[in-house]
Amino acid sequence: MEKHGGTTTAVTLGPPAAAEQLRNAIAMGIESGVLLESERADWDPQATAAALAPVLGEGRHDLLLFGNESADTGGYQVGVRVGHALGLPCVTGVKRIEVADGRATVRREQSGGWEILEVQLPAVVTVMEGINLPRYASLPGRLRAKKAELVRVEPEWHEGGLRKQRLSIPEEQGARVEVLGEGPAAAPRVVAMLKELGVT
């Protein structure tokens, strides 16, 4: 945005405490924030996308950026579903993005190299960690964020078809570590192990 001009908005769906995430984004340079406020804990990917799409569709933005997947539930689909609902093309798993002449050229890792895709804007792009290193919020940024008026929207609820029943911790393999030694004296046993595994 700072390179190309225009305006930016951060949008999130979550409990009232999620407002802090929006203020953090504003402190780092985003201009406005929209909170789809809900205390529900059962927002599955279909429900999340259905709630976000009408709000994002109003904005007539050129570029809708999503995370590729959430760290916790790992559904890998909200951005794709929003793109489909709004009739916008979507590229996922992106680690580099360049915008010029109404098109985005994006790169993503594929079998050891990079594959390059082009997409006409407006579009949805889902990005992965490594696309950049977020800056620290400046002091004026923090002050602006503190005073910013967030837009609060009550999201519509459309029940999806994947329902969590319970969570469990996967069984761990038991203690199995073989200590080969301490310090450089362990080198012969390390090399013997490498030979045994056939990797030398």
């Binding site: 979507c90 050891g112 310090g183 080198a187």
Partner: protein
């Protein structure tokens, strides 16, 4: 009929094994021209679901599998269970899927006239290959609006993290960008690749593409040598597909050592220098 999307590689054979547990399987690949187009793959899935009156569609939770299945799920207005590790047909289906990169499991019910699932990587033993039907979907211009227009190959001779038989990983204990020279040397001797924890990519000692972990590469080498890595759960998620793990750490109580097959307690620079000298013997 269970449909299984097959793309080149081992991950698809894992997805195939998953599908075979659910019922009779028809394996298919997408024949939509030379340039990969995510929506063409989604169009193929949607059209094949109708043709076979499929009960379920299964694909590897690879970047492409995930992308195509998400788009197909959106088109069919159906739920998608990503990163599944097991499923049990019934009404509704019961699915176990990974959360937090596999450090937590979710048991869930999955509804809808067709069940769509992607299969978590490196969890299920690969099936024997079966005949694959290449399917050429009918495509609209919109299906081809996003497509691959080019590729950049790594420099010749580079071993990628995900393909390497040996990965030498470094963490905070490596101490500096230059500290990785020793790891590079060992990796070269073993024909392997060098990776790093999130700490070292955030510190700028390695580029992000070298990161092993939940938000980096998920590796599955024959041997992972973890040097000076404490073993945060996000890192374990990225390396637990390794067949064997050797941890080198000054702290015998580091979580990484508890998750390893072999351990050396000591300074990684001293240990690696000695191992390199022994190998050169």
């Amino acid at each position: 009929m269970i449909l299984c999307l097959v793309e080149p590689g081992e991950l698809s054979l894992e997805a195939l094994a998953f599908a075979q547990r659910l019922g009779p399987v028809q394996a298919f690949s997408v024949d939509a021209g030379d340039a990969y187009a995510p929506r063409a793959w989604a169009a193929a899935i949607v059209q094949l679901v109708e043709r076979y009156s499929a009960e379920a569609v299964v694909a590897a939770a690879s970047a492409r599998g995930q992308e195509a299945m998400a788009e197909a799920a959106a088109r069919l207005d159906l739920p998608l269970a990503a990163n599944s590790v097991s499923a049990e047909p019934g009404n509704p289906w019961r699915v176990v899927r990974q959360r937090w990169g596999g450090s937590l499991l979710e048991e869930a019910t999955l509804e809808g006239r067709v069940k769509l699932l992607t299969v978590a990587q490196h969890v299920i033993e690969a099936a024997e290959p079966v005949p694959v039907e290449p399917f050429a979907p009918e495509l609209s211009d919109a299906d081809l609006a996003v497509r691959v227009v080019g590729r950049e190959e790594p420099p010749p001779g580079t071993v990628s993290l995900t393909d390497a038989r040996v990965v030498v990983g470094g963490g905070r204990g490596v101490g500096s960008a230059e500290g990785f020279d020793l790891l590079e040397e060992l990796a070269t001797l073993l024909g392997g690749a060098v990776g790093g924890s999130r700490v070292v990519t955030n510190l700028g000692w390695r580029v992000h593409a070298d990161q092993v972990g939940q938000t980096g590469a998920r590796i599955a080498p024959d041997l992972y040598i973890a040097c000076g890595i404490s073993g945060a759960i996000q890192h374990i998620v990225g390396c637990k597909g390794s067949k064997k793990i050797l941890a080198i750490n000054t702290d015998p109580n580091a979580p990484m050592i508890a998750r390893s097959d072999y351990a050396v307690v000591g300074d990684l620079h001293e240990v690696l220098s000695a191992v390199i000298a022994e190998l050169r013997g």
